[in-house]
C-alpha cells in the first residue's frame, strides 16, 4: 500500500520554509510527517499531508513547485531492534533506501516511518511477506 508524498522545492533564501508551512496551515492543510533535505543551493521539503491534492494545489497557487511521489509508511515496533529488523528485510532483498523519516504521532507501541526505496513495489512485497505492517492512506 503506497501513500502519497509531496516533494517541495525550497529556495535557498531566508524564510522560504516558513512561508511554505504558513501557506499550508492557512489553507487548512495538516502536515503529518516531514523532512527537509538541503544542499548549499536549494532544499527539498518532503512531507505527507492529510490531503495531498489540496496541498499540491495550495502550493501551485503560491508559485511553489512540488511533485508527488509514492512512498510506503511502515509500522515499526517501538523497541530496540525494531528499525533494524525492517532495514534487514529490505536490504536482504537487494533494495537501497534513498531516505526515511518519522511520522509526528505514534500509535499503540508502534512508530511510523516513511520509507523511500529505489524499488518501492519490491520493498512493499518483501515487507508484507515478512509480516511488517504498512499504513493505509486513510490511517494517516
Amino acid at each position: 500500500m503506497f501513500i502519497k508524498q509531496l516533494s517541495v522545492f525550497v529556495e535557498n533564501k531566508h524564510g522560504r520554509l516558513q512561508a511554505i508551512i504558513d501557506k499550508l496551515s492557512e489553507n487548512g492543510v495538516n502536515i503529518r510527517a516531514l523532512s527537509i533535505a538541503d544542499t548549499t543551493d536549494f532544499g527539498i521539503l518532503r512531507m505527507i499531508a492529510d490531503d495531498n491534492e489540496k496541498a499540491k494545489g495550495v502550493l501551485a497557487d503560491a508559485g511553489v513547485i512540488s511533485t508527488s511521489t509514492d512512498v510506503i509508511a511502515v509500522y515499526i515496533d517501538d523497541k530496540t531492534g525494531g528499525l533494524a529488523q525492517v532495514l534487514k528485510i529490505v536490504t536482504d532483498a537487494g533494495i537501497s533506501i534513498e531516505y526515511m523519516y518519522a511520522f509526528l504521532g505514534r500509535k499503540e507501541g508502534k512508530a511510523l516511518m516513511v520509507l523511500k526505496a529505489d524499488n518501492e513495489p519490491l520493498a512493499e512485497k518483501v515487507l508484507s511477506e515478512n509480516g511488517i505492517a504498512l499504513a493505509n492512506p486513510d490511517e494517516l
Binding site: 522545492f9 529556495e11 543551493d41 536549494f42 508559485g63 513547485i65 512540488s66 511533485t67
Partner: protein, 434 residues
C-alpha cells in the same frame, strides 16, 4: 576584385595615418569655432586646436556621448548653418527622447560612397537590382542603402519595410538581386518564401544586413533560406548610418571607412586607449563630416580591431561584430561579463534548464560576489535531488569556462525573477548602492 574607391580603400597604412592627421586637424579647428559644447570641453581640458597635430594626439581630445545629442536637441551640435543642411535623420532608440542628425551635400556624397564600397565588395554593379527593405524615412537605413545603390549605377527598388507578401512578389517580378534589410526581417522573409515555395523564382545573390545584432547561426539560416550570401554592415546614425564599416567578400570582420572615421578601442571605465587587438568600447571620430561631426563618440559597442592586411587587399582596419554593449557589461573581479553570455550557456546546457536568470553582484570584504539565479522548472524539479545537483554543477562549470570566473548558481522559484513591462530584470548590481 572590384574596388569602388581604390585611392582610399587600398591606401598604404602610413599614408592613411597622414591623411587622417590632416583631416583631424581640420575638423578640430572648425569644430572649436562652431560647436559650443566641443569648445567648452576643450577649454576645460586646457586644450587649443593647435595642440592637436595628428592622430597621435587623438587620445587627448574629450569624449562625446549620446546624452550630448539629447541635451543639445535638436540642432545644438550642428557645425554648419542650417541652410547648408540638406537632410536630417532621426532615431528614437529604445529609451528616451529622439535624437536628430544632419548632413550637408558633401556628407551625403561621402555616405553614398561608403555604402557603394560595400555594394561593390559584395559583387554588385550597375546591372544589379538593389531591394531596399529598410524603412525609408527618418531611420538612416533606407536612404543609406538607396543612395549607395544609385551611386554605383544599380537599379534601386525603394520598397521600404513591411508587407512581406508584396516584398516577395516584387523580388520575383522586378528581379531583385541584392537585398538590404534587418537580419531578423531577412529571417522572416526566408520563412515566408519557404511557405510560398518560391525560392527558385528568386534571383537574390547577396544580402546586406545590419542595424541589429545577429549570430553566425542566423547567417547560415538566412543564406540557406534565401539562397544568397549574407554580409554584415555596421553603422549608427550619430556617426553616419549604415556603411561606417562593412564586410568584404571574405566575411572576416568589417572594414571601417578610415578615410572618414577613426576608430579607437578604449576601456569603458577609465577611458584609456587599449593596446591593439584588445576588446573594449568602440569610439569614433568623424574627420570629414561637416554637418554633424563628432569627436571621440562613445558608441557603447564592445568589439576589437584587427589591423592585419585583409585578403581582399583593402588596408582599412577590420572591426569584429560587437560582442555586447557597455550598458550591459559587468566587470566582476576584473573580468568582463555580459548577460548574453549567461543566457547562451543556459540555452545550450540542455535538459530542463530554463533561460530565466538573474545576475546578482555584490561586494563582501572588498571582493566581488557573483551569483546567478536560475528559475527552477517543474521538469527539472522532477529529476530529483541528484538530477538537480548534476544540472547545477554542469551550469556552474560551463559558466566558469565561458566567463573565466565562476558564479554561485542558485535555483529560485519559477516566475520569481522580477519583470517589468514583460522584460526580466537581468542584473542586480548591489555594489553601486554602497
Amino acid at each position: 576584385m572590384a574596388v569602388w574607391q581604390p585611392e582610399y580603400e587600398l591606401m598604404p597604412r602610413e599614408q592613411i595615418r597622414e591623411d587622417q592627421s590632416k583631416k583631424l586637424r581640420w575638423q578640430v579647428e572648425r569644430m572649436y569655432k562652431t560647436v559650443e559644447l566641443f569648445r567648452k570641453r576643450m577649454d576645460e581640458k586646457g586644450l587649443k586646436p593647435e595642440d592637436i597635430s595628428g592622430v597621435d594626439d587623438l587620445c587627448k581630445l574629450p569624449f562625446s556621448y549620446k546624452q550630448d545629442l539629447r541635451d543639445y536637441y535638436p540642432y545644438g551640435l550642428f557645425a554648419v548653418p542650417m541652410s547648408e543642411i540638406r537632410r536630417v535623420h532621426a532615431s528614437s532608440g529604445t529609451t528616451g527622447k529622439q535624437i536628430v542628425v544632419g548632413y550637408t551635400d558633401n556628407d551625403l556624397e561621402m555616405w553614398a560612397d561608403c555604402f557603394a564600397r560595400m555594394l561593390i565588395a559584395v559583387g554588385a554593379d550597375e546591372n544589379d537590382f538593389v531591394h531596399v527593405g529598410y524603412g525609408l524615412g527618418l531611420f538612416t537605413g533606407g536612404f543609406g542603402a538607396h543612395d549607395g545603390a544609385v551611386r554605383i549605377g544599380a537599379t534601386a527598388i525603394p520598397i521600404s519595410a513591411g508587407n512581406t507578401q508584396r516584398q516577395i512578389q516584387t523580388m520575383i517580378d522586378f528581379g531583385s538581386t541584392v537585398l538590404c534589410c534587418t537580419p531578423s526581417y531577412a529571417m522572416y522573409l526566408g520563412e515566408v518564401i519557404e511557405e510560398m515555395g518560391v525560392k527558385d523564382q528568386l534571383k537574390l545573390k547577396a544580402g546586406i544586413f545590419g542595424a541589429e545584432p545577429w549570430t553566425e547561426e542566423m547567417r547560415a539560416q538566412i543564406e540557406e533560406k534565401l539562397g544568397l550570401k549574407a554580409y554584415d554592415i555596421y553603422g549608427l546614425s550619430e556617426i553616419m548610418g549604415p556603411g561606417v564599416s562593412y564586410e568584404c567578400e571574405y566575411q572576416c570582420g568589417m572594414h571601417v571607412c578610415e578615410d572618414n572615421f577613426i576608430p579607437e578601442i578604449i576601456d569603458p571605465d577609465t577611458g584609456e586607449v587599449l593596446p591593439e587587438g584588445s576588446q573594449g568600447e568602440l569610439v569614433f571620430t568623424t574627420i570629414t563630416k561637416e554637418g554633424f561631426p563628432l569627436i571621440r563618440y562613445r558608441t557603447r559597442d564592445i568589439c576589437s580591431l584587427n589591423y592585419e592586411q585583409c585578403k581582399c587587399g583593402r588596408t582599412h582596419v577590420r572591426m569584429n561584430k560587437p560582442q555586447g554593449r557597455t550598458d550591459d557589461m559587468l566587470i566582476i573581479r576584473g573580468v568582463n561579463v555580459f548577460p548574453s553570455q549567461i543566457e547562451e550557456v543556459l540555452l545550450n546546457v540542455g535538459g530542463n534548464v530554463t533561460p530565466n536568470y538573474q545576475i546578482i553582484v555584490d561586494r563582501e570584504n572588498n571582493t566581488d560576489t557573483f551569483q546567478v539565479n536560475v528559475e527552477m522548472s517543474e521538469a527539472l524539479f522532477a529529476e530529483g535531488m541528484k538530477g538537480i545537483e548534476k544540472t547545477t554543477k554542469l551550469i556552474s562549470e560551463k559558466l566558469r569556462s565561458t566567463l573565466g570566473i565562476g558564479p554561485k548558481v542558485n535555483l529560485v522559484n519559477p516566475k520569481s525573477i522580477e519583470r517589468s513591462e514583460g522584460k526580466a530584470k537581468r542584473v542586480i548590481d548591489k555594489r553601486k548602492l554602497k
